[in-house]
């Protein structure tokens, strides 16, 4: 009798190799981080850092601040993003393509550029502030601190809500809308009872991603937060403090941050699990023509929202051509900022950005495709372990990943500090959960029978994977990859810990110039970053032929 043996094939080895990679570059740094939080050279095992954290409100208020501002951003994003998406999906708005593209551009730009630009517009000596003061004699409230972060992050993150909700709204079957009207429920009541009810899982998913992004953001609070300190800023300060770095304290704060995001993540999962259902969408929603005063208001809402959100981007571009004398803007325009930028490593920043981002993207795609195949086709304990580990960075703010890598790889014998490798690793880990998720979802769409057909027709397993499986995944992967590329290019929160003069990138150059007060030069760097973003967006739109479904 022939017994089926559990065969150890190529895929088992790939699974083991992936596991080792994650253990070395992700789990090991995390363990070192925890170790650092609880262990010091002088005291051995100690809770000293935690005691220090909770003893001063200067410290513990950072986590509260982070939580408060993230929750506020989340609520505000939902409040402005859901109606936006509703108008966008249910009505034939004029110029909807433009709205869509511009909102993508807002969310894809580097976060702190918005903060920087809003300061120049609404800050103490901002353009709008001065204009309002001199014309109306009015004072605009402070843009620094909580309000500023809320403004900047909400305007940057609400398009994420839109992207999520567009997908969910498009999945609503039109007959459900008709059935509800038939049963006497229309208008606002129908929107709340039926439309919102059907999209609860997506709303929760959107809420989570907005919260996580806001919570982890370093650049915005660093630039516009001033006295309102959030925890990534605290980590940064204690890590790179001039009085001497306190690794133990930074690690302890990181551990607390992960705990908090972990709890939020689990709460969201629990909430989502109570709303599981599937919609059989045979008849998609038919878009109505907006009419009358309601139609006008809808258009006004969408256009004003997008105009405000895109304003900082436009201002930066204009500002990049303005002459500066020291920190003072002049009324003449030239290319002087770009000339300054060239002197300040512009060439190196661009090269580094492209090299690091491309390398990180390649690593991410290869690993994500392999994980997707393992999880969907080779379901085993090993596959699921690798998959779960690859998802963990989702709850880890970039700053935490940054310092855990520094702690792990700054040894005397094996050091990666100051190399491009460590930046690639950090970016790959950061972006892995998103790409891995979408690759797995794409993989699930591929019927296994095409692979069986290929094998039955004499192709080897490897050939089947290369010729049949990967091409079927490619459209999903490529569109995801372009978006990943953008977010890698504009990512800063992990890089800020890892860069040096040799490995500086565009976003880091922008940030350093802002913090040095070289505003014009910073604008030039920011404009070039935006150009890269726009180029990627154009590529993305060409590739997806303008599909309004996307995963971020």
């Amino acid at each position: 009798m022939t017994r089926s043996r559990k065969r150890v094939d190529l895929w088992t080895w790939i699974g083991i190799a992936l596991l080792c990679l994650f253990l070395l570059f992700f789990i090991y740094p995390c363990v070192r981080l925890m170790w650092e939080a609880f262990y010091t050279q002088e005291d051995g095992f100690t809770m000293k850092s935690f005691v220090k954290f909770f003893s001063k409100s200067y410290y513990y208020s950072t986590i509260l601040n982070s939580f408060k501002v993230s929750a506020a951003v989340m609520v505000l994003c939902l409040l402005i993003g859901i109606p936006f998406s509703y108008f966008f999906t249910f009505y034939k708005l004029k110029g909807r393509r433009v709205l869509f593209v511009l909102s993508l551009l807002c969310t894809m730009s580097a976060p702190f550029i918005g903060a920087y630009s809003w300061i120049m517009l609404l800050g103490r000596s901002g353009v709008i502030t001065k204009f309002v003061e001199s014309t109306f004699g009015l004072k605009i409230g402070s843009i620094y601190g909580f309000n500023g972060i809320l403004l900047v992050l909400s305007l940057k993150l609400f398009p994420l809500v839109m992207i999520y909700m567009n997908g969910a709204f498009q999945d609503i079957d039109n007959s459900l809308m008709e059935a509800s009207a038939n049963l006497g429920c229309t208008g606002v009541r129908r929107f709340i009872k039926v439309v919102m009810g059907l999209t609860v899982p997506t709303i929760l998913a959107a809420a989570l991603i907005v919260f996580m992004r806001a919570f982890a953001d370093f650049g915005t609070p660093a630039i516009i937060g001033e006295g309102f300190k959030t925890f990534p800023v605290l980590i940064y300060d204690s890590f790179l403090s001039e009085v001497g770095a306190d690794y133990n304290f930074a690690s302890a704060v990181s551990v607390l941050a992960i705990l908090l995001t972990g709890i939020v993540f689990l709460l969201q999962k629990f909430a989502t699990s109570r709303f599981t259902f599937t919609i059989n969408s045979l008849h998609p929603i038919e878009k109505k023509k907006p009419k009358g005063i309601a139609g006008f208001l809808m258009h006004a809402y969408c256009y004003i929202l997008i105009a405000v959100a895109i304003l900082p981007q436009i201002y930066i571009v204009v500002d990049s051509f303005r002459d500066y004398k020291g920190q003072v803007a002049q009324s003449t325009y030239s290319l002087s900022n770009y000339q300054n930028a060239v002197r300040k490593l512009l060439g190196r920043s661009i090269t580094n950005t492209l090299v690091i981002s491309t390398a990180a993207l390649a690593v991410i795609i290869i690993i994500a495709v392999l994980i997707a195949y393992l999880v969907v086709r080779r379901s085993s304990a090993l596959s699921h372990t690798v998959d779960t580990i690859s998802m963990l960075p989702y709850i880890m703010p970039g700053a935490v990943i940054g310092i855990s890598l520094i702690i792990a790889f700054s040894g005397r014998y094996f050091s990666l500090i100051g190399t491009m490798t460590i930046m690639v690793i950090a970016l790959a880990i950061r972006r892995m959960p998103y790409t891995s998720r979408s690759a797995t979802a794409t993989m699930m769409q591929i019927p296994i029978s095409t692979e069986e057909a290929s094998i039955s027709l004499g192709a080897s397993k490897l050939k089947t994977f290369a010729v049949i499986t990967i091409p079927q995944m490619s459209s999903g992967i490529i569109s995801g990859a372009i978006l990943s590329f953008v977010s890698i290019v504009t990512e800063m929160s992990s890089g800020i810990f890892l860069y040096n003069n040799r490995t500086i990138t565009l976003t880091l150059s922008t940030y350093t110039n802002i913090s040095l007060g070289s505003y014009g030069t910073a604008s030039a760097f920011a404009t070039i970053t935006t150009l890269v973003t726009v180029a990627c967006m154009v590529l993305y739109l060409l590739f997806t032929r303008g599909s309004e479904r996307m995963s971020v």
Partner: protein, 380 residues
């Protein structure tokens, strides 16, 4: 070159769950053999064991005298048509069909020639350079068939190939499949849960239930003399009535109700059991007697009727309380209204008698080859 398929004592388990306990089967060279059964009966599992996509926990599978248990799926020389066709969506029709030939390192010229031949055979040649998404379900089905046949496989396996098509196309495609199969003359194993499709297409059918083959035979054998009650009810429609098997000097008799007794010469003395029995009478084997008939019969009341043109179906309750369906060729005069009292007789040549306990048939003339395989397997 087509082969015969011989399966001896196949065993399939998923963990501790046994799907197929012990199954033996012979499929002759060139025949179209159907595995028929309700969903979950193990028919697709068996097909995938032949194809090599499911592991074999026990038993031997032979193509002629070549044991295939441990041969890779790609080396078994099998053509397979999948339920969802499994057309490669990123390759054109021609590239789909040529895929198997390319893996065989055939020269380009020959690939082109062979591909054209089979595209013509399935009448899809005019779409050769289209992408699959621009084909209808029926056309995709033809591509799948061409792709499976072009490699000149020893065996063609088809897993519910028509279940994704609409009713009309299903009928059309099954004729196409049958004709092409006869043209090519390839041994084919066909899986379906649709008994009408199985009857229409097959040389022989194996009816399966719970991983066990219940009856193997030609469509006619299975319909007219089912081996057991499961087959009788699964193939076509059967009214199952309670009755008695009796015996007197003139032979075997069956008693339906108190005054209706018929003589059944087709009962096999070797299988007959006197006493309680289950009678399987198909709707067309129940005869509705004209009003005024006073001879023996089963008394019943009409509950409802459905006029379907060629036939009229009556749903009746017998005086015993049992319900039954009758199919009668539609008459020109009016349909009997609900509540009408009627008398029924039975076509004594056709109906079947089964034991109460083991539900096996008591009839003569059962052509069931399950036993024969088992004996043959023992000899080997």
């Amino acid at each position: 070159m087509s082969v015969g398929i011989y399966i001896h004592h196949a065993l399939k388990k998923y963990g501790d769950v046994t799907i197929i306990p012990d199954l033996s089967l012979s499929i002759a060279n060139g025949e179209l053999f159907t595995l028929l059964g309700p969903s979950g009966c193990g028919k697709t599992t068996l097909l995938r064991m032949i194809a090599g996509f499911n592991s074999i926990e026990g038993g031997d599978f032979f193509f002629n005298d070549r044991r295939i248990n441990d041969i890779d799926p790609g080396k078994r020389n099998i053509g397979m048509v999948f339920q969802n066709y499994a057309i490669f969506p990123h390759l054109s029709v021609r590239k789909n069909v040529a895929f198997g030939l390319k893996n065989r390192k055939m020269p380009k010229e020959q690939i082109r020639k062979e591909t054209d031949t089979f595209l013509k055979l399935v009448k899809i040649d005019e779409y050769a350079d289209r992408m699959p998404e621009r084909l209808s379900g029926g056309q995709q089905q033809r591509v799948a068939l061409a792709r499976a046949l072009v490699i000149r496989p020893d065996v063609l396996l088809m897993d519910e190939p028509l279940s994704n098509l609409d009713a009309k196309l299903r009928v059309e495609m099954r004729t196409v499949i049958k004709n092409i199969q006869k043209n090519v003359g390839i041994t084919t194993v066909y899986v379906t849960h649709d008994q009408e499709e199985a009857m229409a297409i097959s040389d022989r059918i194996a009816v399966m239930n719970a991983g066990v083959i219940q009856h193997v035979g030609r469509p006619k054998d299975i319909y007219q003399r089912p081996a057991n009650l499961f087959v009788a009810t699964f193939i076509g429609k059967s009214n199952i009535l309670k009755g008695q098997v009796l015996r007197d000097d003139s032979g075997y008799k069956v008693n339906f109700a108190d005054d209706y007794e018929v003589s059944v010469p087709a009962i096999d003395p070797a299988r007959a059991r006197i006493g309680e029995a289950l009678l399987s009478v198909r709707p067309e084997e129940l005869l509705l007697m004209p009003t005024g008939y006073t001879g023996p019969g089963i008394r019943a009341t009409i509950d409802d009727s459905v006029f379907l043109g060629l036939n009229t179906h009556y749903f009746v309750t017998l005086d015993s309380g049992e319900e039954a369906e009758i199919i009668q060729e539609s008459q020109i005069d009016s349909i009997l209204p609900p509540g009408s009292k009627i008398k029924l007789t039975v076509n004594t040549d056709k109906f079947n008698v089964f034991g109460v306990d083991d539900e096996t048939s008591m009839m003569q003339g059962i052509c069931n080859e399950v036993k024969a395989f088992e004996e043959e397997a023992v000899r080997k």
